[in-house]
Amino acid sequence: MKQINKIQIRTYSMLGAARTFGQALIDLAAEKDSVVAITADQRSAGRLEYFEQKYPGKLFNVGIAEQNLINVAAGMAKEGLIPFTLAQACFSTARCYDQFKISLGYMGLNVKVVGFGAGLALGQYSATHMSVEDISLVRNLPNVTILSPADCLETYKAVIAAGELNGPVYIRLTGEMGNPIVYNEDYDFEIGKAITLKEGSDISIISTGSMVYNSIKAAELLEQQGISVKVVDMHTIKPLDKETVENCFSSKLLVTVEEHSKIGGLGSAVQEIYALTPQKPMHLMLGCDNYYPIPGDYKYLIDIFGLSPEKIADKIKHTFELL
């Protein structure tokens, strides 16, 4: 696949993750003839009309019908196509969970489910549209790879990688248009291989999706106070990069940060390794507490759950000082 230049990186960031997906799909489909797209009335979210223009007849819209979305994709995958579905993360997982379990988990069909607006980004539409359980839901299912890209360049790369992987994939897209840039130049992306963005000796932060950027900013604030912080981009939640997680156990404090419930997500996945390890640091889990907030815009909701860089830094510092 082509190298992505800095102008494209900035463009993708402005477009946001869902539209970057649309761009990536166009490039992927140029290499793989079997790639098709199916959406549940969310074509415009990914600007898939451009995909359709380039590849007439390869975009399908099932309307507001997510159960049908998954199984139509499953039927296509069984026939050798590589379908990518696009809908809101909450509806792509929660509304069609039975179909997801059976067609992707049990039958292992080669469907790539792309859920945009994961986490709190659609929170202005209230809790009905927030997706803070999707990692938990999909992680329960055997055989499904879960990708949670940190920024739009990583979104692009995740889509390409998903297209090349033979097997079901869930890609969770966080953030809004104007998504902050974590990777300002192209790099190698490999499913299952986390990326350590910066080293540090006191604290390790394992983060995913939008929280990678916030963790980097939080780390900067902590470094200013003399605390040495490692930051890991855990872009693949399943299969989790066990080695990278274990390498964090030599820190004095382990932190996980996710725009997701504290139940069942990245933090829980890390704990599954953590629980089996005798020598380990204290684990601070940051994420969404188990309640649905009153609707608000993205920034407001991130702040409510203490997931802004400042609040992340504060919480970490407070915990670190108590050790």
Partner: protein, 277 residues
């Protein structure tokens, strides 16, 4: 004539289902809904469906999706009669670790296209398959989905029905096993499906009623429906749950049933008497 053979095979399929149910003893099996499907499966597999016994995954085959997964016995018995599922396979029905389970396990080499059992999934799978075939330029293969009438309670069925007509899927055929019984009782008492024909029509399907136990009617109506197919096509097959065994016919208690030796012998005797007539 081919249909005479089909009628003989149907009897044998019915016999196989009873044998399988008896063999699993107190575990029981979905005998009622399996018996109502016999003539339709026999007609399809011995006359209508296109497949290659030596290569059940050949691209140019017709696809058969058993959405009503609990009628798996009918599928296994039919595939057995065709010669794809072996005697040894059938003997493992519902055994621990067997792929010939109560509900279908995806086993394309043996003619089992998808793992079904959770009701309301098959028609969507059928829509996806039909779209894919068209996309691939495969204009000769058809997609058949076999569904229960109680199964039409599920909302997901109607999502699929809408999309089938929206996409004018003239390679998709649905057969609804209208035996009027579901687990808790008669469909008309639980969740009436009496408007099922009008409903599918209003969703843009062509709808044809068939006598689900009259092989001549099944054959004639399906072949003529296929010859004139312009969009998604639904056959509402009027059937009897438990058909062929008097103490099971139209009894909702026999959705899942067990056959002890006495009942088994009685059932076999009835089948043999029927065969001799």
């Amino acid at each position: 004539m081919e249909l005479d053979r089909t009628k003989k095979e149907a009897k044998q399929i019915r016999r196989d289902i009873i044998d399988m149910t008896h063999a699993v003893g107190t575990h029981g099996a979905h005998i009622g809904g399996s018996l109502s499907a016999v003539e339709i499966f026999a007609t399809l597999y011995f006359n209508i469906l296109k497949y290659d016994k030596a290569n059940m995954t050949a691209e140019d085959r017709d696809r058969f999706i058993l959405s009503k997964g609990h009628a798996a016995m009918t599928l296994y018995a039919t595939l057995h009669r065709v010669g794809i599922v072996t005697d040894e396979d059938i003997k493992t029905f519902k055994g621990n670790g067997s792929k010939f389970a109560n509900h279908p396990y995806m086993y394309p080499e043996k003619g089992v296209e998808f793992s079904t059992g959770s009701l309301g999934h098959g028609l969507s799978l059928g829509v996806g398959t039909a779209l894919a075939l068209r996309h691939k330029g495969n204009t000769s293969s058809k997609v058949y989905v076999y569904q229960g009438d109680g199964e039409c309670d599920e909302g997901s069925v109607w999502e699929a029905a809408m999309s089938a007509s929206h996409y004018c899927l003239d390679n998709l055929i649905l057969i609804v096993d209208r035996n009027k019984i579901q687990l808790d009782g008669f469909t008309e008492d639980i969740m009436s499906q009496k408007t099922i024909c009008e409903r599918f029509r209003s969703f843009g399907w062509d709808v044809i009623n068939i006598d689900g136990h009259d092989i001549d009617d099944i054959y004639n109506k399906i072949t003529s429906g296929l010859a004139n197919q312009k969009g998604p096509l639904a056959f509402i097959a009027n059937t009897t749950k438990g058909k062929g065994v008097s103490f099971i016919e139209n009894r909702y208690e026999w959705h899942i049933g067990t056959l002890n030796d006495k009942l088994y012998n009685q059932a076999i005797e009835e089948l043999e008497n029927e065969a001799n007539q």
